[in-house]
């Protein structure tokens, strides 16, 4: 039996990632990128809706996607810390997207073959989108890494800043339908190839921030939720 917590964690990852990516709308470096980031945000939001709906059903307490998204506080959110980090500059956003998508792709792929039919169906749909996200992020990490001196510098700084948050994605969960720890080798291989081509250096492993899966977040999440939930909470019980 799949745990509510596991599905909620994946749903929250996608939801919070969507919220951050959508912040780029009207701010991207070029018009094509405005469209691409909105597109990826929409994919993440779509996956979040499927996962949260399923988590609500598993929980059996009558909470739908909106109850879970809008009426939980930050201590009840189960997303990884990576997705809640602020967007920073475009390099930080691409570093985050590279890590997220290089993790989500093998995860959704593995889920698409798992025994839980509902998760398998969600995984099958989402992995196609993750492949596109990974492609997009890889291309930009290469462009920035092997672009100008300035873009190389920014891309390396971004990678160094975000890298420690990778650790939390692979913490072992042997009870889960897919144990995230088993995805590490695949992730490392994919990311190493991109960084190599981008002339970037893989940061050393050291500091290992975590806690997101237990609802112990960074200071950023509460602000993100305050903005996301403000209108919904101001009109209890209303339909939209």
């Amino acid at each position: 039996m799949t745990s509510v917590e596991f599905v909620l964690g994946l749903g929250d990852d996608a939801l919070v990632a969507a919220q951050r990516l959508a912040e780029w709308t009207t701010r991207a470096p070029e018009m094509e990128e405005d469209i691409a980031l909105a597109n990826i945000a929409l994919d993440q939001l779509g996956a979040a809706r499927l996962l949260l709906t399923y988590a609500g059903e598993l929980e059996g307490a009558g909470r739908d996607e909106d109850a879970l998204a809008y009426l939980r506080d930050d201590r009840e959110f189960r997303n990884c810390l990576l997705v809640e980090l602020p967007n920073g500059d475009f390099a930080v956003t691409m570093a985050k997207l590279l890590i997220l998508s290089a993790w989500q792709l093998p995860l959704y792929t593995a889920l698409s073959g798992c025994a839980d039919e509902r998760l398998a169906a969600i995984g099958a749909k989402a992995r196609k989108e993750s492949a596109y996200h990974l492609d997009h992020a890889s291309l930009w990490v290469k462009r920035l890494g092997d672009g100008t001196e300035e873009s190389h510098r920014r891309m390396q700084v971004a990678l160094d800043e975000v890298w420690p948050y990778t650790h939390e994605l692979f913490v072992a969960d042997p009870a889960a339908p897919v144990d995230p720890a088993t995805l590490r080798a695949d992730f490392d291989a994919v990311v190493a190839a991109v960084l190599d081509e981008a002339t970037l250096t893989r940061p050393a492993d050291g500091w290992r921030p975590g806690g997101g899966r237990d609802g112990v977040h960074s200071e950023h999440l509460s602000y993100l939720l305050a903005e996301m939930q403000v209108l919904h909470r101001a009109h209890p019980g209303a339909e939209w």
């Binding site: 919220q19 405005d34 909105a38 462009r143 919904h232 939209w240």
Partner: protein, 355 residues
């Protein structure tokens, strides 16, 4: 799932106009099938040939000779239209992070994404007239080309997102549907695509208002307040009254414009009155009433002095909108430079391999 996952109520607007878009598309195909002469004969008067194509309701294409003023008017109009799509992302984008349900968030995100897409088609259409997108963007950022005055008004509540869909997109469609038959081929074709999507957005906006108007008293009040604030700015979108419109006569002769500002404004008012009744909301005009003789509604004109002020740069959000666009452009410069440098390196590598 995603943007398009609800069905509009049967009484939602857009049906009739969408029919007109489809008719324009069919007419475009027929005109292409009639196949105009391949071009002017050697030594033939180019201006006479141009007039003949326009008179025959056929399309001027990028390679055709055209009067310089026709080219300039089209560049100005298409660029302004493209800029409006890009600046128009801001007022609605303002509510993406706070959309009150995940479904509404997805719909709004998809809509704002569509607008960026419309901006891109329109810049591409303008580029067929011999100007580059970069030049047009510079003209916008330098304040030398305009965008629609409507986007200088703020979105203060969620209901504004609904009002923009219903009224602003509604007015845009009434304006743009005749452009689907405009004499310049690339613009007409872009308008057909844009109008189909806009009509969908208008239904979505109407649906938001419909839900609010049938919701809690607080929601209904929010919807009414939004309509009260957006009604006159939407009427002003059709431009100054016919007597004061500088470009109209020539544009009509060239079949760029097909109807006057006042004709389109009247058509819009007539359409909205009935829809507002179905919503159970009031249009903020005490003098709005059916005129049996004219077979149209009498209504109070928008404040054209206010319109002129907004066009001059003195609306509530002009400075904010421009500043936002300039900041995004400036902050993205290093990314665009990186992409160009990377592309140049790749091209160089290919050359080496080939050599």
């Amino acid at each position: 799932m995603y943007g398009n996952d609800f069905s509009a109520p049967d009484d939602a607007p857009g049906g009739g106009l969408l029919g007109e878009v489809e008719a324009a598309e069919a007419a475009l195909r027929e005109a292409a099938a009639r196949a105009r002469r391949g071009g002017p004969a050697p030594g033939e008067d180019l201006a006479a040939y141009f007039t003949e194509v326009i008179d025959a309701d056929q399309k001027i294409e990028p390679r055709d000779w055209m009067p310089e003023a026709y080219r300039k008017t089209l560049i100005r109009q298409i660029a302004q239209h493209a800029h409006s799509e890009i600046i128009g992302m801001q007022p609605e984008g303002n509510w993406i992070s706070r959309a009150p349900s995940l479904k509404r968030k997805a719909i709004l995100l998809a809509k704002v994404q569509d607008e960026a897409g419309h901006g891109l088609y329109l810049y591409a259409a303008a580029e067929t007239l011999g100007i580059s997108r970069d030049e047009l963007v510079e003209l916008l950022l330098g304040g030398r080309q305009k965008y629609s005055s409507i986007f200088n008004y703020p979105t203060l509540t969620w209901a504004d997102v609904g009002a923009i869909g219903w009224l602003v997109d509604g007015a845009a469609i009434v304006n743009q549907v005749p452009l689907c038959r405009c004499s310049y081929g690339p613009y007409a074709r872009a308008m057909i695509r844009v109008c189909k999507e806009e009509s969908f957005h208008q239904r979505q906006g109407y649906e938001i208002l419909h839900t609010l108007a049938h919701g809690t008293p607080g929601q209904k009040a929010m919807a009414q307040d939004a309509i009260d604030r957006w009604w006159y700015p939407s009427l002003a979108m059709f431009g100054p009254p016919d007597g004061d419109s500088t470009h109209s006569a020539q544009s009509m002769a060239w079949k760029i414009k097909r109807f006057s500002n006042d004709e389109l404004r009247q058509r819009f008012v007539d359409m909205c009155v009935q829809q507002a009744e179905i919503l159970g909301l009031t249009l903020p005009d005490p003098d709005l009433r059916w005129n049996d003789e004219r077979q149209a509604y009498d209504y109070t004109q928008p404040d054209y002095d206010e319109l002129m002020q907004v066009i001059k740069g003195n609306g509530p959000c002009n400075r904010q909108r421009m500043e936002h666009r300039r900041a995004a452009h400036a902050e993205g410069a290093w990314v665009r430079e990186a992409a160009a440098a990377y592309a140049a390196k790749r091209a160089e590598q290919k050359e080496k391999v080939a050599a």
